[in-house]
């Protein structure tokens, strides 16, 4: 498994080597094949899950990232043969500063979605077995905005795409429900 992960990382790194792009992509580790389509201002990745689990994309901050900002999109293909009840994208060392669109190819509906600074999430019915679009990987929709506020050149950050276990999806929904309730409470108190 470790060897395969290494190969995935190497393949992804080689695919982007030398290309003018946003934050330097340092490779990926996890249960997916990752292909970068990034350019100078957009982090763009196809993520092909071949088993349930998570994949982490690793980046190093470039000087231009601190001035121009970054946008993000991803095309997630489910090649596992199993249904995904939900999907999450979690940032570490960066934050989502503005939401974009979330979509499927229409075979399954998005039944719940949301985001906070560090995570976006979606749930599906029936469980997702085909494709999930974060932002506009195929040109339709709006990319997500990523902020690197407070970061310095040379810092690292990660984006982790994960398929939560069904039980974890319920907890995720409950957790976001609590966050939402607290936010509403704060708004009401203000």
């Amino acid at each position: 498994m470790k060897l395969r992960q290494l190969l995935v990382s190497l393949a992804a790194a080689l695919a982007t080597a030398g290309a003018a792009q946003a934050a330097t992509f340092d490779g990926a580790t996890g249960a997916a094949t990752v292909t970068s389509y990034s350019d100078a201002s957009t982090l763009a990745f196809d993520i092909d899950f071949t088993s349930l689990g998570a994949v982490t994309l690793n980046f190093t901050v470039e000087a231009s990232d601190l001035t121009g900002g970054l946008s993000f999109n991803s095309l997630v293909r489910n090649l596992t043969g199993l249904g995904f009840s939900g999907l999450t994208f979690t940032l570490s060392g960066a934050t989502f500063s503005a939401p974009g669109t979330l979509a499927t190819d229409g075979f399954q509906a998005i039944t719940g979605q949301g985001f906070d600074g560090h995570q976006l999430w979606a749930t599906f019915a029936p469980a997702l077995t085909t494709e999930f679009h974060v932002g506009a990987p195929l040109g339709s929709g709006t990319d997500w905005a990523i902020s690197l506020a407070g970061a310095q050149v040379g810092d690292t950050f990660t984006i982790t795409a994960a398929v939560p276990e069904p039980g974890a999806v319920a907890m995720l929904l409950a957790g976001f429900g609590v966050v939402g309730a607290m936010a509403r409470r704060r708004r009401n108190q203000a």
Binding site: G81, G83, T129
Partner: protein
Amino acid sequence: MNDHTPQPVRRSLLKGTAALPFISALAALHAREAMAAGNTVRIASPYGPIAPVNDLTTGLPLLKLPAGFSYKSFGWTGDLMTNGLPCPAAHDGMAVVRSRRVGRSTELVLIRNHELGGTTNSSFFGAPAVYDTGTSSSQYSAGGTTNVVFTDGNWVSVSPSLGGTRTNCAGGPTPWGSWLTCEEVGSDAASTQDRKHGYVFEVAADAAQTSAQPIIGMGRFAHEAVAVDPATGIVYQSEDSSGKSGFYRFIPNVTQGSLGSLAQGGTLQMAKVVGQNNVNVAPAELDQTYALEWVTIANPDQNRGNATGLNGQVITSAAGPFVQGWQQGGLRMNRGEGMWYHAGKVYLMDTSGGTVNLGAIWELDLATQVMTCIYSTSGATVGNMGDNITVSPRGGIVICEDASNAANDEFGLGQRLMGLSPNGDTFIFAKNNVNLSAAQLTAAGKNPALAANHVTNEFAGACFDPTGRYLFVNIQTPGITFAITGPWANGTL
């Protein structure tokens, strides 16, 4: 004359034992084996029971499927194609012939047969390649193929590719990205343009590259399906001619295949059982095996005739290739139908074979040239005259049923898509639920003339995309193509 020689091997017992570690499951296996007695049995679907599911394209409940599965219909009979003409009817054999990335998009091209005979319409639905512009009994040849594009999980377009052919039943994909379409014609009649029918034609993923040149070397008979061995380029072929169906192969002169290479010639051969003459393999029992050798057919374009086998049995009014093979001791089956290649094996359905004449599947190991019966139904609810078959990228077999009398099981009356488990058991995966009124069709933007109860009409053309996410399949009448997806890994398909 029943001249088969059963050689039973209870393969499924061993395979089943390995897969079932629990005593209760083993007990169930024993019970199943006791019931089997040379036949396939039906088990509960690993995907669960089926129920009507609405089509994501039209909102109509066209299929019964397990929970968690969804589908989109497309390319109905009468829908306008890219050339502005209505899509032809009678959707039959089909395969994904090209899968490619266009930027980040995934584009699939499917080629689909239309099993049509004669028509007074001389448009050939605008196909760029037309074989026969003549008439027979004042009828033009109405069959042919259309190319269907499916991109990023969405149907995109239907375009005509081949016209002027007859009764394009099934066929098969080639490893080099084309489709071999088979005319199921058992006649020597020639049209007013002196064109005979009963040939195989190659159709390109880019419709404009289709030549409409018959591959005469592959034989002229009631072709049904083909399966290409990618290692050798050899094309295995089935014949659908009741009681006088041969099993053929075509060894091409050009083994590194490419578009048009089969038309450069080759050698047609017919299967024979090693050490036995003129074996009738139709009454196949589960796990029965035959070792095969091949006899050469000198004239693949020979007219029909009578043949006396080496065993003295006379077969009358058989196709020319069958006549030549039978005279050399070749085998016969009842009605060869669907074929598929997967992982060094070719699968072949004899739709009227088996112990109750409702279907048997042969698995030919290409390395050993031994064919084994992996499916022989014991009754209509277990398996009911399977026709086209396919194998998923995970190795599961899907059977399209085309029975004279559709199965009436716990899910009601209707033709079915059956799954075949690795242990040789069948299960119901899907059922035809097309029963539509003119009002429903009009509301969905379809031709109201298609209104009828179509649940007893056949499934055909099942095939998966290379990733195994989408199962594509047709219901021949009223003529609808489906893309189905769901949690395939929950079962064996």
